[in-house]
Symmetry: C2
Subunit: 204 residues, 2 copies
């Protein structure tokens, strides 16, 4: 591959760092680096500092593993939230997405990954025993599995089901089906088929 | 607008900084920040440092204004390049694009902007006198104007033409026309019309 000469090693390094981000190509990286060049020095200092501050200062909630500024996150320490429901998700981003809906008032448990033999991730690499402990020790009445429907996601859901089924807790999973406002025409066959299979009584 | 709660101020700040970049929305910014969280600390340090190092250490060539690690850039200090031609461009990125073609062996002059009364940029805000000096003092035989065809670009080209036309130097502009490999069908009318007007003898 022809190597672009950036005429400045400093520029080249900044471009390389931007291009190391997912979804950022070398052309965009150059655009971003040249954008920074035009900003005041203190803005660039603040820009750079925010990332080291995040990486060095980040904490994870000791209860649910969500990213947090404190030992226990704002959801786990809230008195307003329903401690009898735990929603199990793969990632921090899933929690943010669910919080965004403003429709869920229970607790979370962030696995930080899913069982994936190909990537060498087994059940013991995930905080599953911690989830079992939470269910055993607490006032938990329901565990909602909100993992993906990929093979790894299904495997993890099944494993969690096996681990939790001995305990007196209801285990549920989020509804899958045709999205609200989606056309049947553009819905994939699997989703559409399952949405008919899993039909329920019409409510008004 | 509903404000996303990122559950961590550090995460929120990093997302805000990423989202301040051109073309990066808040969703992408979150993805990038979470990506950094998964990287080793030293990589994030290097990532952040590259931007402050660029911003604080950047130099501009004292001859052509191109970004450079030294007082004079590699093009201006090269003995291999043709000092009798200067190509006038708006930005650093234009120089990189032209260098990328590996078809040009002359000098550059980076204006760092174009004349734009709306943005309050007049001729005196651009290093135009410096260009005139280069032409007067040096062995320059030709100045190529490679500015955009926007109204501001044309105005700047015309202004440069007026300033340089008294000096014994050839003033040229880059060829505009239908791109190599482009379909006539998808070429805009102005370009296609001009490409017919500016036709030249067929060469084999």
């Amino acid at each position: 591959m022809f190597k672009q000469n950036y005429s400045s090693v400093l520029l080249e390094k900044a471009v390389e760092e931007f291009a190391s981000l997912p979804g950022v190509g070398r052309k965009s990286a150059l655009r971003l680096a040249l954008h920074l060049l035009k900003q005041p020095k203190e803005n660039v200092e603040r820009f750079a500092h925010s990332f080291t501050a995040l990486r060095n200062g980040v904490k994870y909630c000791s209860v649910c593993n969500m990213i947090s500024d404190n030992e226990v996150c704002s959801v786990c320490s809230s008195l307003q939230r329903d401690k009898s429901i735990i929603c199990v998700v793969e990632s921090i981003r899933d929690v943010l997405s669910i919080e965004n809906t403003q429709q869920y008032n229970g607790m979370y448990h962030v696995l930080g990954g899913i069982i994936s033999p190909i990537d060498g991730i087994g059940p013991s690499d995930l905080p599953i025993s911690k989830l079992v402990e939470r269910v055993q020790n607490g006032e938990v009445k329901e565990v909602i599995l909100a993992l993906s429907t990929s093979m790894e996601g299904e495997t993890t859901s099944f494993y969690l089901y096996k681990r939790l089924s001995g305990l007196s807790v209801k285990i549920s999973t989020i509804a899958r089906g045709v999205g609200f406002g989606d056309d049947l025409e553009y819905t994939d066959e699997l989703t559409l088929g399952k949405s008919i299979e899993n039909r329920h009584l019409f409510k008004i």
